[in-house]
């Protein structure tokens, strides 16, 4: 079981790297847009390197960033109020955290199912994005993959939080 959990952690780390790369690319896209617009303005329109679709690229870049980094950051990316439970034993707190993480996992799988349904209907209707004409079914599938990973990571983390005493071994560092 520990090997499976560790394997899921490594896979989610891979997803996290994709998310980080998407974040940097999103930043670069915005910079290129600003730069080309500035050149256009400075040259009075003589040099036109501007392009359409940056709005959509940023939107989908953000989607990939978060859909793919949420699984790995699930354990560390939560805010809890611990003033009322601070004196409870670590074991109880760990089991409770495991239960809550399990709920995140369930949410991940529910979202996966719905995103796949959305992808199917987008595929049937031939829905595309407005500027770049990207097919929406692919975008939904990409998001669904991230949410599926969130579901798997949620179940794996929940298992280790509830049943392993040394769950820090498979929780791992951020990268």
């Amino acid at each position: 079981m520990r090997n499976l959990i560790d394997w899921i952690r490594k896979l989610s780390l891979g997803f996290n790297i994709i998310g980080g790369t998407a974040l940097i690319l999103t930043m670069v896209i915005v910079l290129i847009e600003v730069l080309t617009r500035t050149i256009f303005g400075l040259t009075g329109g003589a040099v036109d390197l501007t392009f359409n679709g940056s709005f959509e690229l940023v939107r989908h870049g953000m989607m990939i960033t978060f859909a793919y980094s949420m699984p790995y950051c699930l354990a560390r990316g939560q805010v809890v109020v611990d003033i009322f439970t601070d004196r409870w034993s670590d074991r109880i707190k760990s089991v409770m955290s495991g239960f809550y993480t399990l709920l995140f996992g369930i949410f991940g799988f529910l979202m996966t199912v719905r995103l796949i349904e959305s992808a199917h209907s987008a595929s049937m209707s031939g829905e595309t994005t407005q500027d770049l004409a990207l097919s929406m079914d692919n975008i939904y599938y990409i998001a669904a993959l991230g949410m599926f990973m969130l579901g798997m990571r949620g179940f794996a983390l929940a298992w280790e939080q509830m049943f392993f005493d040394d769950h820090s071994q498979t929780t791992g560092d951020t990268l």
Partner: protein
Amino acid sequence: MSSQLIGFICVAGMLGMIALRMPIALGMAIAGFVGFGWIVAFDPAISILESGAFETISNYDFSPIPMFIFMGVLASKARMSAELFHGAKTLFGAWRGGMALAAVMSCGIFSAISGSSLATAASMSKVALPEMKKNGYADSLATGTLAAGGTLGIMIPPSIALLLYGLLTEQSVGDMFIAGIIPGFMGLLLYMVAIAITVKIFPQLATPGEATTLRQKLSGLKGLIPFGGIFALIIGGIYGGIFTPTEAASVGAFGALIIALYRGMNRRDFIEAVAETLVVSTMIFFMVIGAEIFSVFLSVSQVSNSLVNTVNELNLSPIMILMCILAFYIVLGMVMDSIAMLLLTVPIVYPLAMAAGFDPIWFGIVTVITVELGLITPPIGMNVFVINSVAKDVRITSIFKGVIPFVLSDIVRLALIIGFPVLALGLL
């Protein structure tokens, strides 16, 4: 059962679950999901889950959040804190309490760039605290200054809290940032006044620094230029209509990256910066998704309308309503993180404030200042505990004693902005 009653049951249930260590994001999402399912049906509730998550993470308007966070993390990696503190220190030279003034000033600039109160308190305390202690500053003044100084960034733009408030209430993020400029710098100025008054009354708390020449002062200013430049670029760009918030955030992050690379940031530091950005951004996005799902449920349940009607029946004056809201925030701020508190409460409180006839942007500024107070007030005061983790030999009570002048100055600032809304709205 009426939808309002279901609404109140779910809100109470959510608060109960959050008190039992449930992550705030999950608490909001579950309350929203169950409440919506109970009132409407569970199949559409699952669709709300999907659309809430998908629409949030692919929302262009939210894209400045990770960029501003990235900029702040890179600024930390560029070792900005030491340079800022030493630069500011030379400016105040031989003034009694000059180091505390320098610490507040550098905290203000650092937190404006980093956008994180906790990161500011942690980074600045490592640099400024040993020097203040070495120069005979009282523990209470030294630690209190740093704990309070960290809170300045929540108001000085670019601020994640103002950005989230703007998005939640459909106000222009640019307007929110511009409205935050005067209150933010007022906070910085009033903190400096608080230090000056404190050391005037209790001169034993601080010592005078070394006198510096004009040349040294000008040389010290050099340390403030790179990140001060980024700050000016972001705010000037938004104010001048050159950049959207997303563009300003990306340009700021890129500028911070160039400075960090110039100062020797290596590949490992860069990867760590991206990873840290993802963790912090994800934390906020989980909560934003929860808040989106919760907001849909709130509108279906009519809880906010019911609250507005109840308050109207009480015939309270607008100022009384405001005082009740602020008291609620101060109490909540004692146990909850500032961003979480905003995301959780704004959907409920905002309709109440609008029904009372408040300006939405002014109300946002007042709310964020009040939320900020929670970071340094007992019993939680998260910044106080961050400072305590660096200064383990200083007692918590001593730090809380040290923040009293700053809490008072925040109350003065709040009173001024409530009394003179032009202070927040004047630049718009």
